[in-house]
């Protein structure tokens, strides 16, 4: 108290000693997203927020950031009541948020993005040099290495995230909310992020950390609050938490963290790739003479750090990227560079990695999204022209029920579903098409453990039914749990393939990073 210095953060901004939300209620049409929630964060603390998809985590945090307004309840900052009217208001009060989906302008530079929406001392002119200077200072303090002059689109996801953090710190965040920051990061990037978060906390920032990965929560947080269906289940010190305990708190029942798998029974070859090459988005070599065989009734896992050609691989198979050399065959037919519609017709399904961009149309309803490929299918149309929405809704309702998708109705726009539920919708759609070959890219990214368990079981069931599944995932645990064979990708090539029995993890890790 006597020494005002202790109230300041290294960034020069005031601390938020404590922030308390009490009795917070938030209703959306058809959904009670927050039901009398109590929550608090203190300076120097990393507070993890856990809960199933649609439990209300993002909603609760968006209320702190002024994006939503509570219908009932009170927010107090440093014991004084606070009404947070807008994100600008939140920023002025020292609250920063890194969203589940980034919000940077791709064509602007790092410095420009950080300066965006800031007042400048030179009136309408931007002091970009000043900004750059300050960015460099900040990034030195927190080891957040980025070049302020680079445009965003040239940065890897992990770097973009650092820019988001820098931007929040630059604007004076004393309390930083991170909504699923690790979902899109490689394991190395996660380790880097955690170092930054620990240092931020040590310096007196308050942090809210949302994740579906229990081991991360156990590793990084001081306290955990679990939400379920818009209510707070409990808040406990992380020391007292274990994985099974947290899982049970979230889901309300014990969760299988491992599955029994039937022995593989591979049959005829469904997908054959011979020396397939393709360019990456930036025009460099994306895929370099990849050969792969996938049989009915087996799951082949593609392991690797993301950005090593996995996306190009999936897109070459699904007709979304030009194959520059080599051939792709499905069911013995040459489908090299065939259009996606032709591939759908012969039973190819694809769960895309970037589901928000590729997998759904956010402005369309759940029902409309459910028939993204099949909107012209005879079973959903009259004379192939008039869409029979009653039939579409009926099929969609069945899928909602079967896959336990949380949505108020089939007419809800997909943009108002939670991230995990969007993923379930994509999965439901792709499996309902009864695929012969399924390409599943990061199928459980951002998905809660209950749903992950469910998706994994579905994939195994599909495999037992004879579907050929290519599982692309960065999550080695997932690859190990589901695959029959594992191929490792590095720099656009398949650098090794093993049968998934007594796999040497060390060896896999080495292959993934380009070692021998």
């Amino acid at each position: 108290m006597n020494n005002p210095k202790t109230h300041l953060l290294p960034t020069g901004h005031a601390r938020i000693e404590s922030l308390t939300m009490s009795g917070i209620v938030k209703r959306f049409p058809g959904v009670l997203a927050a039901d009398k929630i109590d929550f608090n964060v203190r300076s120097g603390e990393i507070h993890a927020l856990l809960g199933e998809n649609g439990a209300g985590k993002s909603t609760l945090m968006k209320m702190l950031y002024g994006l939503y307004h509570p219908d009932e309840g009170e927010i107090r900052i440093n014991d004084k009541p606070a009404t947070i009217k807008s994100p600008i208001d939140a920023i002025q009060r020292g609250i920063g948020m890194i969203h589940q989906h980034f919000m940077l302008a791709p064509s602007l530079t790092v410095a420009e993005n950080i300066a965006l929406g800031m007042k400048s001392s030179r009136g309408f002119q931007l002091d970009l040099d000043v900004v750059s200077q300050r960015v460099i200072e900040l990034s030195d303090t927190y080891n957040l290495k980025v070049d302020p002059r680079l445009p965003i689109w040239q940065l890897a996801v992990g770097e973009q995230q650092r820019v988001e953090i820098l931007r929040a710190l630059y604007k004076g965040a004393a309390l930083l909310i991170l909504d699923e920051p690790t979902a899109v990061l490689t394991p190395q990037e996660v380790a880097g992020l955690f170092r930054i978060l620990k240092q931020l906390a040590a310096d007196g920032h308050g942090l809210v950390f949302i994740s579906h990965k229990l081991h991360e929560v156990l590793e990084i947080s001081h306290r955990v609050t679990v939400l379920r269906d818009g209510r707070r289940v409990d808040t406990i010190p992380t020391r007292q938490a274990t994985r099974p305990k947290l899982a049970e708190m979230m889901v309300g029942r014990p969760v299988l963290l491992e599955y029994a798998k039937n022995p593989p029974d591979p049959r005829e070859e469904r997908l054959t790739m011979r020396d397939v090459s393709a360019l990456s988005n930036r025009g460099a070599t994306g895929l370099d003479a990849v050969s792969l065989r996938l049989r009915s009734g087996e799951i082949v896992g593609i392991a690797g750090v993301s950005g090593n050609g996995q996306q190009e691989l999936a897109q070459c198979i699904t007709g979304l990227r030009d194959v520059t050399a080599g051939s792709v065959m499905i069911n013995g037919r040459d489908v090299t560079n065939a259009p996606p519609a032709a591939l759908h017709a012969i039973g190819l399904s694809y769960i895309p990695e970037e589901r928000m961009i590729d997998g759904v149309i956010k402005e369309f309803s759940v029902a409309e999204n459910y028939v993204l490929q099949d909107h012209g299918h005879p079973k959903y149309t009259a004379a192939r022209v008039f869409m029979l929405f009653n039939k579409i809704r009926e099929a969609c309702r069945r899928a909602i029920h079967l896959f336990e998708i949380k949505t108020p109705s089939t007419e809800t726009l997909v943009k108002s579903l939670s991230g995990g539920n969007i993923q379930k919708l994509v999965l439901a759609r792709e499996l309902s098409r009864d695929p012969g070959v399924l390409i599943a890219a990061q199928p459980t990214r951002g998905v809660d453990i209950g749903a992950t368990e469910y998706i994994h079981k579905q994939l195994l069931e599909e495999r037992d039914k004879g579907t050929a599944i290519l599982l692309i995932s960065e999550d080695l645990d997932e690859i190990r749990a589901l695959s029959d064979r594992i191929a490792v990708m590095y720099e656009g090539r398949i650098v090794g393939e093993v049968v998934n029995e007594n796999v040497d993890i060390e060896q896999l890790g080495l292959l993934m990073t380009g070692g021998e």
Partner: protein, 415 residues
Amino acid sequence: MNQAVGTSLAARLNRLVDFAPVLVALLLALLVSSVLLVALNADPLAAFGFMLEGAVGTENATAETLVKATPILFVGIGITIAFRGGMINIGGEGQMIAGALAGTTIALALGDARVPAEMAKAPGAFDLVIVASALGGGFLAGALYGGLAGFLKAYFGVNEILSTIMLNQIAVQMMNFLLNGLLLDPAVAGFNNIPKTARLVTAAQLPRLALPLGDPWVFARTRLHWGLVIAIALAVVIYIFLWRTSLGYRIRAVGENERAASYAGIHVKRQMMLAMFLAGGFAGLAGVVQVLGLQYRLQTDGSPAGFTAAAGFNGIVAALFGGLNPIGAIPASAFFGGLLVGAQKMQREIGVPASLITAVNGLIVVFVVSSEIFILQRSKRRVSLQETPLAPARASAKRADSPDPADEPTAEEAG
């Protein structure tokens, strides 16, 4: 707890609240206009009174409002399709002209071929073949003209805003050239006259429209014609097309998210062209209907808006005002029709300069359109800011990619 509940009252209320900003915008526009009027020593209340009277005060005024609204509605329907398909079509003017040129040529030629000279002026004659061919030809010409911009965008990445604006210029010059030459009315050839075609035979004209609501029938003595009915019917057809057919679904899918559309197996380029084709077709209809229903000949004063009266631009505003929904475009077009007609009366009665009227019109347009954008912004904010940074560049005015309102596309200027 989070389970299905159906559309709640709250959702419906929310939608109602959405219209409030439009009304506020209208009031604001009227307020600012009042200030201008007061500055010119005119009584704003009286001025707006005249405006209202001019728009709907008499049977004839109402009819004129609807007559003006008709081409705006045709264009507005087309623009709605274009916007829904992610295309910004500023080429309504040029497409109207293309449609009018083709439609008029067909109507004149078929009129000569099918109607004996002595029957050319027979009252009440109607030849479905001529009218349908002219309408069809006008649609097709406009559609090809719009489709050209779509093709350039789809296959060569030419920005459709630029190409349609340039195609407007070409169309105007083409019309002036043809009306002074090939298509010039032989009766006035050689005189230094207004460039215009010969008059259509009556059988090629769209009949006048009157409603059996009294004696004489309502609108019997006005210029209101069947074009309005055609436009309203097509608005309903296009509503069904966009939201109930697989073709419409594909156009909307491409407009909302190209990447998801190609993932879905939709031929993105084809939908882009189709959207522009249809948009141009409707503008073409607007053009040919002006000739068949109202002017009975194609004529211009040589200025860019000499034939279209800027309906090709006003249709854009009407489409936005109508919430990018063809049904919504119906009242929106009527509103703008009223604005145009009412303004003339206001000008006549209180003698303010004509440019003030344009300014008042412009103000209303700017305020209303920015309120539309405000609504879209707000609904964006409501659903959080879940935009991903590397989404493909998207260019339609109905969407805002940036959380900063400053980046919003500004309102189109109306003539």
